[in-house]
Each structure stands twice: as C-alpha cells, then as structure tokens.
C-alpha cells in the first residue's frame, strides 16, 4: 500500500504524470462539448424540443445524473486547471529568455494555451452565473416558466432564456470571443491528447493534427451559430 501511494504520488508530481492527467481531464471536457452542443442546437428545433431536453436532462436518473455529470465535469475542469497552472509555472521557471526570440514552427494556438485557457475560464464562470446559477437576471422568475405538452407542471423555459440571453449584445460578443479561443485551445489540445497518451506517431501525426482542427472547427461552428442567429439575425424574437 505504501509503495502504491508513493508511486501514485510521484506520478502526480512528475511532469509526464501531470501531463497525462491534463490529457485525461481534457478528454472528459472534449467529450462534454459535443454533448452540450447537441443539446444547445435543439434551439433551432423550436421551444418545445429544447425545453423537453432540459426536463429530460434534469430528470435523468431521478435527477442524479446531472449532478454526477456536473461533479465529474467540475473536478475534471479543476484538475485540468490546477495542473496546467502548475506546469506553466514550472515552465516559466525553467526557461531563460532570449534577446532575439524566434519561433520555428510552433503554432500560435499552442503558444497561447494559457491565455486561451484563462479566457475560457473567465467565460465559463460568467456562463455558469448567466445560465446555470442565473445570477443577476430573473431567468428563475415566473416569466421563464412555461408549459410543455405531456407535462402537467410548468417547466423552465430554457428556450426563452437562451433567446433573451443572446439578444444582449455584450453577452454575445463575449460568447463569440470565448468560443473562438476555445476553438484555438481545442485545435492544439485535441492533437496533444494523442501525443501525451503516447498514441501518436509520425504515421498518425498529420491525421491527429487534422482531426484536431476538424473537431475544433465543428465545435466552433456549432456554438457560434446560436448567438449569431439570435443576436444578428433575430432568431426567436
């Protein structure tokens, strides 16, 4: 047991161990995004579809599933954050700057992971306050209750919340910036997962890079389509 904990301890403290955990938590977040997007895109299927989805999500597993998911995501997110901050601090400490800095091939995305990551963090805090905790707005109020076919009680009007939320220009702009940085973050993060988990090789490196971009762009297109439709094209108003 002692040797077990020691081994795990040195794994947690090692550079590679930390990176593997960053990659694993990254995978959890990478898997969450398409699911989240798929749900959100129901906004284009009309109010009932989206609201139905909201109810389904909250009732799944007698209401426990969403909490498991939230807990899992939160811990993945926190671990991802703590470790990357630790790694970045170690990286800063390890290097000495050049008077004539130069970059040969590292992508802009890869070089701005900490900044894109921190912006995403700020956005997520805002996003949770905005839509999940609903602070500073009345999204929990009467006007955001609605009826849904097949349900006797009133349910939360997710659809209306989304339309109203994105109709506010600053929210949409922040959302667009954050999702764009997320796309950049994902393009490097997706390909890096393969490398860090040791399943990338010269033969697959081009493929993993392309998959990374494809994934990032699909996620970006999906997420930006909603505020653009609502804020610019007035969808749902």
């Amino acid at each position: 047991m002692k040797s077990f904990t020691r081994t795990i301890g040195s794994f947690w403290n090692s550079s590679i161990g930390k990176k593997i955990l960053v990659a694993l938590t990254g995978i959890a977040l990478l898997l969450f995004l398409p699911a989240h997007l798929a749900g959100n895109l129901l906004v284009f299927a009309g109010p009932d579809a989206l609201n139905e989805y909201g109810v389904w999500l909250h009732e799944l597993g007698h209401g426990t599933a969403i909490w498991f998911a939230r807990l899992g995501l939160l811990s993945a997110f926190i671990i991802h954050l703590i470790l990357t901050v630790q790694l970045t601090a170690a990286n800063r400490a390890a290097r000495t700057d050049y008077a004539y800095p130069s970059t040969v091939q590292a992508s802009r995305s890869s070089r701005s992971m900490m900044w894109s990551g921190l912006t995403i963090l700020a956005f997520i805090i805002y996003h949770l306050l905005h839509f999940t905790l609903r602070v500073g707005n009345d999204y929990d109020g009467e006007s955001y209750q609605t009826t849904l076919p097949g349900h006797q009680e009133k349910v939360h009007n997710v659809y209306k919340m989304m339309i109203d939320g994105f109709s506010w220009t600053p929210a949409s702009i922040f959302y667009l910036i954050a999702v764009t940085l997320l796309c950049s973050h994902l393009s490097h993060g997706f390909a890096s997962v393969f490398q860090t988990l040791g399943v990338r090789s010269s033969k697959t490196s081009a493929l993993s890079g392309k998959l990374g971009w494809a994934y990032a762009i699909i996620i970006w297109l999906g997420f930006v389509s909603i505020p653009i439709a609502i804020w610019i094209f007035g969808y749902g108003s």
Partner: protein, 250 residues
C-alpha cells in the same frame, strides 16, 4: 562579407551577461560559422581583448559540443545542421547576427556562449544504460532483433546530446533528449529487463534537474541537428504511464 555580430558576453556563472556588438569584416563565404568566430577572435586578441568563448570540438557535426543560438534558433537557420557545419554562405552580406548561448535554467552559462550541460549526464546516470558487465554478454547473434525495431532504436540513438532541443523549447523541456535516450534502449530486447526502472528514474531525474514540461509544440524537432522525431516523446509518455501502473499495481 561584412557582418555585425551581437554576442552574449558573460564573465562567469555568477556574473550577469550582456549583448555586445562586434564587426566581422572580410569573412569568406566558405568559412563555417565557428571559423567566422575564430577570425573575429583573432582580431579581438590582436586588439588586446578577451576572445569570445564558445564550445566546439569535432567540427564535423557529431560530438554535440558546439551550441550557439543564432538569431533565436539553436544551431542557426539551416535545418538538420549543427553550428559547426553551418556555413557563412547562408547569411547575407551586411546582416546583423544575434549570437546567444543555449539558454535554459538547467544549462547555466559558464562563460560567454559556453553552458553547463552536465544535467544531461545526470539523466543518463539515473538509468540511461543497460546493466551488462564486460565479459558477461551472450553471442551477438543469439537474440535476433526485428530490423524495424533496430532501425527505430537507431533513429533514437542518433541523438548527439547537444541540448538544442532544450534551448529551442519555450519551456526548456528536455523531453526530446530524454525520450530519445530512453526509447533507444526501450526498443531493444536487451533493454527490456530494466525498462520500468529506467523510465521512472530518468524522468524523475529530468524533473529534478529543473527542465520544463513538454507542451507538444515540437520546436525541439525543428531544430534537432539529427532530426530526432517526436515519436520518441510519445513513446516515453506511454512507457511512463505503463511503468507507473506496473510499479503501483504489480
């Protein structure tokens, strides 16, 4: 050709360094970069100054002693080329060239452009070997090794230990070096018995020497004079995960 050099000068390990300007006049295009510095040094000496100190030895691209970050790129602008094999014809007449040491906290500057790379030796001492006493080996052909494995081992073993990978990395990570050293041995059946121990202790040593972490940007691969592929890093990551599991669970 005539050049302006901006060169990092530093008295010793403790002193703080600065960039100084030198004029390199009438440099033949056929000269190597180090020969250009030789010429500049001859003139500094005849003017009564202290010549620019830099590491070099074989001057044929294999010993890994020469270093220099030239215009921000370790070993200079030409790919797959050590500084000693970089020739002046790759520069323009009248150009200003910035020459700095291989910068990294784990590579302290000893003087001018000379850095201490003994951290690499300590990583090897941690486990970068196969424990076989002289005289105890079986016949060389007793263990056939698939050509593909032998080639992969060779590809990793081509590393000359110059440290350009660390110098180029924005995080001063030594992953390309350490992974090349580990996978050279890990690819071979002879290296199998010590694999777990090797991987764990080399990585632990690498971390304690103060190198940064790999963020998969592959600047190291781009400047590596022997074009060591990043596949080795992936392999080390994998081997490390497996070694940890083996160590923790079995």
């Amino acid at each position: 050709m005539n050049l302006t050099l901006k060169v990092w000068r530093q008295e010793n390990r403790k002193a703080s360094g600065r960039m100084e300007t030198y004029h390199a006049k009438d440099i033949p295009q056929e000269a190597s970069f180090l020969e250009m510095l030789d010429i500049v040094n001859e003139r500094i000496i005849s003017d009564g100054g202290d010549p620019i100190h830099f590491d070099h030895d074989c001057r044929e691209g294999i010993c890994g002693m020469c270093s220099l970050t030239i215009n921000g790129i370790p070993h200079g602008p030409k790919r797959a080329t050590t500084t000693c094999q970089l020739h002046m014809r790759h520069f323009q007449d009248g150009e200003t060239i910035w020459i700095e040491p291989f910068h990294a906290k784990a590579f302290p500057v000893l003087k001018d452009l000379i850095v201490d790379r003994t951290a690499f030796d300590r990583v090897i001492e941690a486990g970068g070997f196969i424990s076989v006493r002289a005289g105890s080996a079986v016949d060389a052909n007793a263990i056939p090794i698939p050509k593909q494995d032998a080639d992969l081992a060779f590809e990793a073993a081509a590393c000359i230990g110059c440290g350009a990978c660390v110098a180029a990395c924005k995080n001063a990570s030594a992953m390309l070096f350490v992974s090349a050293k580990a996978s050279h041995l890990n690819h071979l059946p002879q290296g199998e018995p010590e694999k777990t121990r090797r991987v764990l202790s080399m990585v632990a040593r690498m971390d304690s020497e103060g190198f940064g972490n790999c963020t998969n940007q592959y600047e190291c691969v781009a400047v590596c004079p022997k074009s060591i592929p990043a596949d080795n890093i992936a392999k080390l990551n994998r081997d490390y995960a497996l070694a940890t599991m083996k160590e923790a669970l079995l």
